[in-house]
């Protein structure tokens, strides 16, 4: 009795004080203030009422008040009973007037009276905060609110969530809400409703739902529900495994597209000139360094620098390629093994040049915003944007090259020389010029591959070496002088590599692929798509 009357007297006092405190902002919301007063009560039942009042008040400060209360940062000063927000600083508290936000300096702990809460209140608080936030205009806040209530959904909350689901416009929040509804459904008392919920989550791969079904199987007593739950779980796991395979396929295609980019220039030069260009990897490296240099020149617009580096790298590597052809390779036609050695020498010189200019350390090339991040397909499958971009970029380059070789007059000349050099020359094609241009084209594409690679790995002097043997394998596997062979060879090797990796480990997967190609060459020495006609020996 005594405590009640004391509470009452204090409450009246608080009310007055709060009225004076609450001068900033809009209309003082009486429901909100009533709630605040109830918070100062000793009894937890009163506090709970206060929390409910604040929750229903729709006051802009409501969510913050409850959150501070939950975090234990809401106090009354012992002396003049002002509601303050306190942040612990060593032995003291830095306090500020809760309603106006005005700083009140440091005070000793004993001068403050904390608003205490218990576990029941804590749970109420969480739900109330979530309910307030569910109405928040900001999408991210609503999403966070839904995820926050996932662990404790009660029937009452379930109804509110269902209401939100009806009105929600944002796609992501809707998804989160449907997960929450499903979990709520699985916790229903009514067996039929649980079964219905199980039916509705069939094929939903959200990890929370999977855990919930697992928990349901553990606690469930009804045999029918257990059976349904188990079958749903199997279905979900099957779907998850399927998405995992899809993800592996994506990584494989991504690796494959990089291989195609790296190998396609090599395939052109090898097909036309019959020359293995061991410096091809270093031409890729030059393209990657061109990207790096352009980004250093334009540090403010990384995206533009990247877009510009595609033609720039094509130019740099292409010119380097023409230079190599004119100064070295043209003296060695008809001696393929010597060409191999000479171009290897060129690769060493290029590597050391880059090492001298840019230091042997790896350089990192920044990724523009539109290429970073990932595309989320569902909770367990998300594709990294840079890999997706590079895949489509590789296909674009392939398409452009294909058109160039099939439709342009240069392409016609290139194909003619590749098929029969002597006859092409008799028809008036300047074979030497075609050789130089082809070599430049192949090298330029190596440069473009370098731009793509700079978005996936660090740029260093050994970048080319890491890809050269793989590129050879793609060309040899796909068949020389055949663009389709290179495409198919590159993609299939990439996919095979990624599917072997989880089973055997990355290094062993690579070894298996190499051994496979060595054996494959024995069986089909001309690759997947051998050259036909007189060009073939």
């Amino acid at each position: 009795m005594h405590s009640f009357s004391r509470d009452f007297a204090l409450a009246a006092l608080f009310w007055l004080l709060l009225m004076t405190q609450y001068c900033s902002g809009a209309e003082p919301n009486s429901q909100f203030l009533d709630g605040l007063v109830l918070l100062s009560a000793q009894s937890f039942t009163e506090k709970e009422k206060g929390i409910e009042l604040i929750g229903a008040s729709q006051d802009p400060l409501a969510a913050r008040t409850l959150q501070s209360l939950l975090d234990g940062k809401l106090f009354y000063t012992s002396k003049d009973n002002i509601l303050v927000y306190g942040e612990s600083e060593g032995a003291n508290y830095a306090i500020s007037d809760f309603l106006s936000g005005e700083s009140l300096g440091l005070v000793k702990k004993r001068n403050l009276e904390k608003i205490t809460i218990n576990n029941t209140l804590r749970s109420t608080l969480k739900t109330t905060i979530a309910l307030i936030n569910l109405q928040h205009p900001d999408d991210t806040v609503r999403l966070a609110a839904v995820n926050a209530v996932l662990s404790d959904i009660n029937p009452e909350l379930l109804e509110i969530l269902a209401g939100c689901y009806q009105t929600e416009k944002n796609e992501q929040v809707r998804d989160a809400l449907s997960v929450a509804l499903a979990i709520g459904g699985l916790r229903q008392q009514d067996t039929a409703k649980r079964l219905e919920a199980l039916q509705s989550v069939r094929g939903d791969v959200h990890p929370v739902i999977k855990n919930e079904i697992q928990a349901l199987i553990d606690r469930e007593t009804d045999a029918i529900v257990i059976k349904a739950a188990k079958s749903t779980l199997t279905a979900i796991e099957g779907k998850i495994a399927w998405f995992a395979r899809l993800e592996t396929l994506f990584f494989g295609l991504s690796l494959g597209s990089v291989l195609v980019l790296a190998a396609i220039g090599l395939a052109i030069t090898f097909g036309v000139i019959g020359v293995i260009n061991m410096a091809h990897g270093e031409l890729i490296m030059l393209g990657a360094y061109t990207t790096y240099v352009l980004q250093q020149l334009m540090p403010d617009s990384i995206g533009l620098a990247l877009a510009l580096s595609v033609p720039a790298a094509f130019g740099v590597s292409g010119l380097a390629g023409i230079l190599i052809e004119r100064s070295v390779i043209r003296f060695l036609y008809g001696r393929p093994l010597e060409t191999l050695l000479a171009t290897f020498g060129i690769s060493l010189v290029l590597q050391q040049t880059v090492r001298s200019i840019f230091s042997p350390l790896n350089r990192s090339v920044a990724t523009p915003d539109w290429m970073s991040g990932s595309i989320t397909i569902n909770p367990i499958l998300s594709l990294t944007s840079n890999r997706v971009t590079i895949f489509f970029f590789a296909m674009l380059v392939f398409g452009a090259l294909f058109l160039l070789l099939k439709k342009s007059s240069l392409g016609l000349n290139v194909r003619a020389v590749a098929q029969n050099r002597a006859m092409a020359r008799a028809m008036g094609i300047r074979a030497a010029r075609v050789d130089a241009l082809t070599f430049g084209l192949g090298s330029g594409i190596a440069g473009i591959a370098g731009v793509a690679l700079s978005q996936l790995t660090n740029v260093g002097p050994n970048l080319g070496q890491a890809y050269i043997i793989d590129s050879f394998m793609v060309v040899v596997f796909g068949g020389v002088g055949n663009l389709w062979g290179t495409l198919l060879g590159g993609l299939s090797l990439g996919v095979a590599n990624k599917f072997l990796e989880p089973w055997s480990g990355a290094v062993l997967a690579k070894i298996i692929i190499l051994v496979f190609i060595i054996l494959f060459i024995q069986k089909r020495p001309q690759g997947l798509f051998p050259q036909k006609g007189r060009a073939a020996e």
Binding site: G274, I276, V328, F331, L332, R335, P336, L337, E338, T339, L340, L341, A342, F344, G345, I346, S347, L348, V349, Q351, Q352, T353, R355, S356, I469, F472, M473, V476, V507, L508, K510, I511, L514, V515, I517, I518, L519, I521, Q522, K523, P525
Partner: protein, 366 residues
């Protein structure tokens, strides 16, 4: 009688063999017989260095046999060299016994480190020198035989063959980097103590290894000279120049190729086995494609298809490498790269080809 005439006709080879014999006698003598600081003293470092070059010389001879006479540009001979080296390294590992860092009498240090309980099956037998010697020969031979069996039968030739030999050594490089393989991972095998009971640190053992290397090079050279001078050698040259025609004449080209390729791999393996005790370590970088392609450039510099040219090339290039990497560390790759380009364009027959060309011109003038 014919073999004597063969040697008589091979004048540069005779000169080389005489020089080799002189080195095999004089270098250890100058090292052991004269005290440090004496005018005629040859330091142990120099002796080991030259011994290493002699192993490279044997390796170069083996590459020249297949490239210069058979027309197979192998970019994977470093793999055979390294396999021979690993076989010897395993013997030397077993000789350490309980003197390792962990003092385990049964297991080499790296296995103790990896927490292995038993010796893997393929390590058994390497306690015996003769078994190790057998493996030095058999393991590279088996790999070369299996590889050649498939490759030559399906008539993989030219650039394709070069590329897949490179893929072979690259695959082995990756494999030997794995700790699970049981060959010491990327650290390889090292910390050797003694060979046949002789401590590896002592000058006498090093002199012995030097003599062994010189002898092996001389014997390897003679074997290759004998092969190239025989009827088999002439068929090889014919295969190099016109493979289809030789086949049409009724020769079993793939069998000839297989034999010579395997023999060459054995020589490379022996070179590796002699190399490892002298440098004191064998690790997977010996499998790297760059190493294999460097061997080819020794042969190209010396002049292919001569055998003695290969030895000369190995000595010259490696001396230049030792000098340049110490004096101008950055310049070595420039130098090596330039060597590749210049030799292929301007000196297609290498130093020895250029020399004999000069002599011939002078004779014509006279």
């Amino acid at each position: 009688m014919s073999s004597v005439r063969l040697l008589y006709n091979d004048k540069p080879g005779m000169v080389m063999l005489v020089l080799l014999a002189a080195a095999a006698v004089l270098v250890p003598l100058c090292n052991l017989g004269f005290p440090d600081g004496h005018l005629l003293h040859i330091s142990t470092f120099t002796m080991t260095l030259v011994g290493k070059y002699l192993c490279y010389g044997l390796l170069a001879v083996s590459v020249d046999l297949v490239w210069g006479y058979l027309g197979i540009l192998s970019l994977g001979h470093g793999a055979f060299f390294a396999l021979g080296g690993y076989a010897m390294g395993m013997y030397l590992m077993r000789q350490i016994g309980d003197r390792g860092v962990y003092g385990n009498p049964l297991l080499p240090d790296f296995m103790v480190f990896l927490n292995w309980q038993d010796l893997p099956w393929f390590w058994h037998g390497f306690d015996y020198f003769f078994f190790a010697l057998l493996m030095v020969i058999l393991v590279p031979a088996a790999l070369a035989f299996a590889f050649g069996w498939f490759a030559f039968r399906s008539r993989v030739t030219g650039v394709y063959l070069s590329i897949i030999t490179q893929a072979m050594t690259y695959a082995l490089l990756l494999a030997f980097f794995r700790n699970e393989m049981g060959f010491g991972g990327n650290n390889g095998l090292t910390d050797f103590k003694d060979i046949l009971g002789f401590p590896l640190q002592s000058d006498v053992t090093k002199a012995g290894l030097f003599v062994a290397s010189a002898t092996a090079l001389a014997l390897g050279y003679l074997c290759c000279r004998f092969i190239t001078g025989s009827k088999l050698g002439r068929v090889c040259t014919a295969i190099r120049d016109q493979e289809p025609r030789v086949r049409f004449l009724g020769y079993r080209v793939e069998n000839i190729k297989l034999f010579v390729f395997t023999f060459s791999a054995v020589l490379a393996g022996i070179a590796g086995a002699l190399y490892v005790p002298q440098v004191g370590i064998i690790n997977p970088t010996e499998f790297s494609p760059l190493n294999s392609i460097e061997i080819v450039i020794w042969v190209a510099v010396g002049g292919r298809g001569t055998l003695y040219g290969a030895v000369a090339g190995a000595l010259v290039v490696n001396y230049a490498k030792s000098y340049l990497t110490a004096a101008f560390p950055d310049a070595w790759l420039f130098g090596l790269g330039a060597l590749f380009i210049l030799v292929t364009i301007f000196l297609p027959r290498g130093i020895s080809g250029g020399m004999t060309g000069l002599f011939r011109k002078r004779q014509e003038i006279n």
